[in-house]
Assembly symmetry: C2
Homo-oligomer: 309 residues x 2
């Protein structure tokens, strides 16, 4: 099961974090942008080329420190189909370097259309008799508002292709409680209900470390809910955004982990991508600065949770 | 406001329907596929080229009959970045032909990332000093599970760029009730609560026909909820999927409209795309068959709701 691979890679590197690849042009050193614009022009193609170059440098620097990357689709779509090509090339490059790739698309739709998203991001597609891989990530974030028949088409592809999903349960943003914290007719919150569905959907994808192929997104900015959900959802692996720039610290994310130091992966995006700016490092050292921040974050979290079994 | 434009085009054509462009290779005549595969190979590029050719033929045949198209992102992502380029080219072609384009992406994320999606699908992006248009649709479907700060970044772009959004309220799939029909602590259902948020978000984008720039997706497969929501949400324009292949008929969608025949647009995808197969028409007549089905659907719905003011 896909999350077994992730859990093993986390243990090997003793690092339960994922680097969010949410590139904006502002984060990219000017020598990379200038080269890309000189070659392709100041347009979507030039921007996409600069982002790919930036990402490759980060992946080279991070692949032996951090087990996974999480490219956020929005920041690639923002640069048009040219940006989406860079998403594809980034996924391929990170996979080649042995990283686990979580495509952060928060996709959702009804059954037949969800099958198309599943094929796009986790599976394959048949063009006549040729089998093609559209994007090739290892896991996809999804939104469960449409209910079970929006999720089930993913499960069969996850089973067949050894992939996983993360369902939005309790998101890290300030207004996440507006709907997610509402109490339903059985006195459970909406987020707890979505969490319980993750446990149920996950029964189809059991993993050897007790965590299924259906994970949950639970924000670092709500440590109380993180603790509640860790205890309520023993088979659900957590993707924890909101660490760093959004305000969550190591103490906040600690409740996401079980007694073996397993059960979660913590994301940081801006703090890693912009480390060179924050550290006032020379721009050619952007990847080195990112790696230093990744090490700092790893040590801070492992210092809190202890050795990962 | 973007939906004013849509409402006017609906009235001009006396047609409150939208053609869903959800292309699968199976729906495409073999002469189109053979030409594309001969030119680009049996691969994602060949598939994407075939889909674009198919879509252009449909748009040519439909643009004076149907006011809008709704390309579903999943069916383009399924063919990789090459498919996403076809999404871009389809949007551009439909816009050139005067059609209103609803990009069906059901996007959702936290504030800063939602800004990137808004720029991608409804706005522009700055590459140094050059302003670029990534995808250029007129409206985007979105998922509100993350609450207000996942929606608000869209509103400012909608205001600045004359665009609109459709928020998922009550979806057309069989299990949509699993979460959406749950009753919250104030005795309102989750879908009614999401609907009420649409009214509230829409206050920032008032339109001259009474409908704001924040619409709602409400499935034709639940006519009772359609009636309830039409009455509860007087300023919210509805996008109604589920007509045709999913089982909804003209009588089912009628409650989505107000007394002036306004307030909603009904989507059909497969019944239009596959009309040539269903009618056993020669494959070169696929676009003619689609137009005939679009006229049949228009007449059926207008027959039910009367003249559109």
């Amino acid at each position: 099961m896909a999350f077994d691979r992730l859990i093993e890679r986390i243990a090997t590197l003793q690092n339960p974090t994922v680097a969010g690849l949410d590139p904006k042009l502002d984060y990219i050193p000017s020598y990379i942008k200038e080269e890309a614009f000189a070659k392709y022009g100041k347009n979507l193609e030039g921007a996409a080329a600069a982002i790919l170059e930036f990402n490759k440098g980060l992946i080279d620097a991070l692949c032996e420190i951090v087990p996974a990357v999480k490219p956020q689709c929005a920041y690639y779509e923002m640069y048009g189909w040219q940006g989406v090509k860079t998403l594809h090339d980034t996924i391929a490059y990170a996979s080649e370097k042995g990283m686990f790739v979580i495509t952060d698309g928060k996709r959702n739709d009804i059954g037949t259309t969800m099958e198309a998203y599943a094929a796009a991001h986790l599976g394959t597609v048949l063009v006549e008799d040729e089998l093609c891989v559209p994007f090739g990530g290892d896991a996809l974030t999804v939104n469960g508002y449409l209910g079970s028949d929006g999720i089930k088409p993913l499960l069969s592809i996850c089973k067949a292709e050894d992939k996983g999903i993360f369902v939005l349960v309790k998101t890290s943003n300030p207004s996440s409680g507006e709907l997610q914290n509402r109490v339903l007719d059985d006195q459970k919150t909406l987020y707890a209900t979505m969490g319980a569905l993750c446990e149920q959907w996950g029964e189809e994808l059991p993993g050897k470390y007790g965590y299924s192929g259906v994970g949950a997104v639970v924000g670092a900015t709500y440590p109380e809910q993180l603790r509640e959900l860790r205890s309520a959802l023993p088979h659900t692996f957590f993707l924890v955004p909101g660490y760093g720039a959004q305000g969550g610290g190591a103490k906040d994310v600690a409740p996401a982990f079980d007694a073996n130091g397993r059960g979660a992966i913590v994301n940081a995006s801006r703090s890693i991508l912009c480390a060179w700016q924050k550290q006032h490092a020379p721009e050619h050292d952007y990847a080195k600065a990112a790696a230093a921040e990744a090490v700092r974050m790893r040590d801070e979290i492992v210092g809190e949770i202890g050795t990962i079994k």
